[in-house]
Amino acid sequence: MNHHIVEKEYRDFADDIEAVSIHYLCVPTGADADWDNGRVTRFMPLVEPGMRRLSLKLPVHLVDPRSGRPVSDYTLLYYFEVCRGGDRHYSQIYTEIMQSTAKATSDQAAPTAALPMSRRRSREIR
């Protein structure tokens, strides 16, 4: 197996949510997050009224650009893009430490500082 399956859920906070996408990035722990390279965007489908769920396929190993070696411990960063009333809203960015033999649970996920808007791509859907 060359990937982890990590399930993410999003519970709609209103009835008029028009779409939810998750943006995520895997970076070696301690390395800088470069959202312009390696970011993955996935639509989160409704699996029941008000509940969206998606399974993310995450790598078991990443190559740490600082050492050039594969590492099994890395950080998953993700945030949600929510479209409501024709406007896009963004959640804070969450982080989880991923390990090849274990991973942090959703309860352990910790928010990190939100990216300034200028560092997010302004046109997420296309």
Binding site: D16, E18, A19, S21, T41, R42, F43, P45, L46, C83, R84, G85, G86, D87, R88, S122, R123, I125, R126
Partner: protein, 349 residues
């Protein structure tokens, strides 16, 4: 007096023409009174900026005859009575003189007031003279709440292989959708995924095209070509002509030259790129699209420019149309989409 063009449904300004007679600019906007004037310039507000009086031609209809229309590509304009302005929320109005423009790549999330909502899209369309457009949304149900005819949009069915019921696809096509939309990047599958085949088979049966996001990775033109080879009778439009480095655009164009049912759509391509693509694959295989109104009401004229940070759509379209023969310009700016999506018999086509 009868309406000639399509613009009036999403714009208070449109072409009006008496049977066999002169062409006028018609106005049914929010301003009224006897002092209204059309404030205008040609082809991107080139000097001299001029004004002409709007005169009553019927209930809630004012018209103005603008001289020298046929010598220009587009009329850019606003309406004023000297004190108040109707300038389309600051983005002005445009009317193309030689064709009814169609945007082959739009998004509409619903009736909301935000940048992806119906009002934003209508404002953007009026600013660029877009008579109508092809639209899709991540969640098909969002468009159920929209009067697509009034919004001048033709919806696509967003397909997720394994996630979208085949019956839903058929039902939406029965209800007026004009094609299918694939987004392999956002939905996480390769564009040549065999799981797509039952959906493309429906498009084949219905004679409708498939619009597919093209970009590095899962939506690579190489994948899209393999899908097109499996269904040679289904037109497949590569949205964006590869949203990535020029190398991918060259490959996309090469595939179009070799695979007759592939087409290019031009959103986020600069005018000089589109001109080159037309030269490479022929005008009959290129469709103008913009991704409106991802950037809101000013999508086509935003500053700073949103097409590679160097060009607005409105400026780029003038350069594109100026560079093409009239027939080629009409093809790229709408006729190709009308042909592929079979819009000519539709009431709002």
């Amino acid at each position: 007096m009868t309406r000639r063009g399509e613009v009036a449904a999403v714009s208070p300004l449109g072409w009006w023409q008496e049977a066999g007679g002169a062409r006028y600019v018609g106005y049914r906007g929010t301003l009224n009174g006897s002092k209204l004037r059309l404030h205008y310039g040609f082809d991107g507000w080139r000097e001299p900026i001029q004004e002409v009086r709007l005169e009553s031609a019927g209930p809630d209809l004012l018209v103005a005859q603008v001289p020298e229309l046929d010598a220009h590509l587009a009329l850019d304009c606003a309406v004023t009575d000297g004190e108040r302005w109707d300038n389309n929320g600051g983005v002005n109005y445009r009317l193309w003189t030689g064709f009814d423009a169609l945007d082959a790549h739009m998004h509409l999330s619903g009736r909301g007031a935000g940048v992806l909502g119906a009002h934003s899209l209508a404002t953007a369309m009026a600013s660029a003279g877009m008579a109508c457009g092809i639209s899709s949304w991540l969640d098909n149900r969002a468009l159920d709440q929209v009067d697509c005819a009034a919004a001048r949009i033709f919806p696509l069915v967003w397909v997720r292989p394994g996630g979208t019921e085949l019956e839903e696809v058929r039902a939406r096509l029965d209800a007026g959708a004009v094609g299918l939309k694939l987004h392999p990047t956002v939905d996480g599958y390769p564009a040549d995924d065999p799981a797509l085949d039952p959906y493309i088979a429906i498009a084949e049966q219905r004679g409708c095209p498939v619009a597919c996001h093209s970009a590095p990775g899962e939506a690579d033109p190489d994948h899209i070509r393999r899908l097109a080879e499996r269904f040679p009778s289904v037109p497949i439009i590569m949205y964006h002509t590869y949203l990535g480095p020029q190398e991918g655009r060259r490959r996309a164009a090469a595939h179009v030259r070799e695979q007759a049912n592939l087409y290019l759509e031009t959103s986020w391509c600069r005018a000089d790129v589109v001109i080159r693509l037309v030269a490479e694959v022929g005008a009959e295989h290129v469709l103008f699209g913009s991704d409106a109104s991802i950037d809101g009401p000013a999508h086509y004229c935003r500053h700073p420019p949103n097409v590679e940070g160097r060009e607005t759509y409105n400026d780029g379209l003038l350069a594109l149309v100026r560079s093409l023969e009239p027939q080629g310009a009409r093809a790229v700016m709408g006729d190709n989409a009308r042909r592929l999506f079979r819009l000519n018999d539709n009431s709002h086509a």
